[in-house]
Symmetry: none
DNA sequence: TAAATTTGTCTATTGATATAGACAACTATA
DNA sequence: TATAGTTGTCTATATCAATAGACAAATTTA
């Protein structure tokens, strides 16, 4: 009867590490509004005292939540609760990464992760109107909004027409701007196929997701206004951060 | 894409220890009937292979579940799933611990944990018809059925009439037998008040429960056939092991 | 009775978890 | 520009978690 732990307090030797328990309690506090969105968490020292553990243990918990995309830590300023509202990403005839997210985020860009030249697969060749095995250039990219990964994509282009688009991508951080360098001032989305599955190991790593996370998958073909296919792409969006809003195709 | 973990498999570095994850999966297997009640679990070596961990890790999981009263390990024979069926404990005019459980268990008895003489509290004095502060003897007991704790109780008696009942209790392991030594051949339950709450730390320890476990609480007064109060008691029953069956009072 | 099966105990090693303290790096503010 | 407040990094130590192997103890089976 004496020294009773408070109900729902941290349990030691329970098989669940303290940092995981604290991370869960922080998540819960966010869900109940105890820790407001977009606001700073109490400082680490305060949290350590609040939960009765060492500051380093709190840091482990925070670090896990930063990895999960729930928090963002800024040295000297504090640790902030990120908005859990999902980005609404429009899918339509004129889908563009950055323009589509205008007004929802303050900063967005595309990071080029890797690029390579390879023979076109059946699917890519068909979509781009090339011969099977024709050389195509593949760009692996990650879309970020406010420093948060919101998409992971692979895009293929006919290398005979778009040689050097990887360099343009790396420099501009934009597909639209890169295509402009090749004389493409406008393009349309010809087709989009939508599906969903569990994120694979690569996507988990690239998007900072937890095992079991779900990704929305779009497979799309972009064409010039006169119908000439220029780009085939497969994009994965973490379902917990993004929703796709379909507009007129 | 390669070496993907099977869905719902054991996760390392997740903040949840392997032994806890395995214990949970064993619980789940019991719940779904994969591991039958009263039957032996697969041997430790088989479980270790099944879950892809060391035998010692499986032993940690089993050890936790033995502690929780879910399993019983017998050297040389195997590890057995205990019956999760709750004892049905009748509450009525002639409630007796051992007789009430006849047929449901093969062995039951009451263990005297502690006894003391103390001044009667308001509640005890009123119930026993004594003056406030009159000396009463308190027995702290634990009821066990087939080696499993099924109740934890405190009982108060007027010390002027039942001096030495603690000794009788320790010797006989039965309230009924102890009262018989004081000339009480029959007694009735006058009143019973039923409630439920979370087990406190003492009950958790005495009953071998996990934090968060629920106990049913009965507060009762026993009287002689002519209406003279002889015993006031508060009993706690682990809700996961016991249900109370109300009969005519 | 002997052998096989199964749980129990012991030693040893490695990595993850948790605590402790000190100080650096960065930010906001008086 | 100081100063206070905050996150980041480093070292050190102790305990828990997990693996590995060997053998004892108890039970069942051939």
């Amino acid at each position: 009867m004496i020294g009773q732990p408070v109900a729902d307090s941290i349990e030691r030797r329970s098989g669940v590490s303290l940092w995981r328990q604290i991370a869960d309690r922080i998540l819960q506090a966010i869900a109940t509004g105890d820790f407001a969105e977009n606001a700073a968490l109490p400082p680490e020292v305060a949290l350590a005292e609040r939960y009765g553990v060492n500051r380093h243990t709190v840091r482990s918990a925070i670090s896990a939540l930063v990895q999960e995309g729930v928090l963002r830590a800024e040295q000297g300023r504090g640790t902030f609760v990120l908005s859990r509202k999902r980005l609404s990403y429009p899918i339509g005839a004129r889908t563009r990464f950055s323009t589509g997210l205008q007004g929802q985020t303050s900063e967005r860009h595309i990071v080029l992760l890797a690029s390579s030249v390879e023979p076109a697969s059946q699917r890519v060749a068909e979509s781009l109107g090339l011969a099977r095995g024709a050389e195509v250039i593949r760009l692996e990219t990650r879309g970020e909004a406010d420093g948060r990964p919101v998409s992971r994509a692979a895009a293929w282009f006919d290398v005979s027409r778009f040689a050097g688009i990887d360099k343009a991508m790396a420099e501009t951080g934009s597909i639209t701007a890169s295509l402009a360098r090749f004389g493409i001032d406008d393009y349309l989305r010809q087709s989009t196929v939508l599906s969903a599955r569990h994120a694979d190991a690569a996507d988990l790593a690239d998007l900072g997701l937890q095992p079991g996370a779900i990704v929305l998958v779009t497979v799309a073909v972009n064409v010039t206004p006169d119908g000439q296919p220029i780009q085939f792409s497969e994009s994965r969006f973490p379902a917990e951060r993004v929703e796709l809003k379909l507009s007129a195709l």
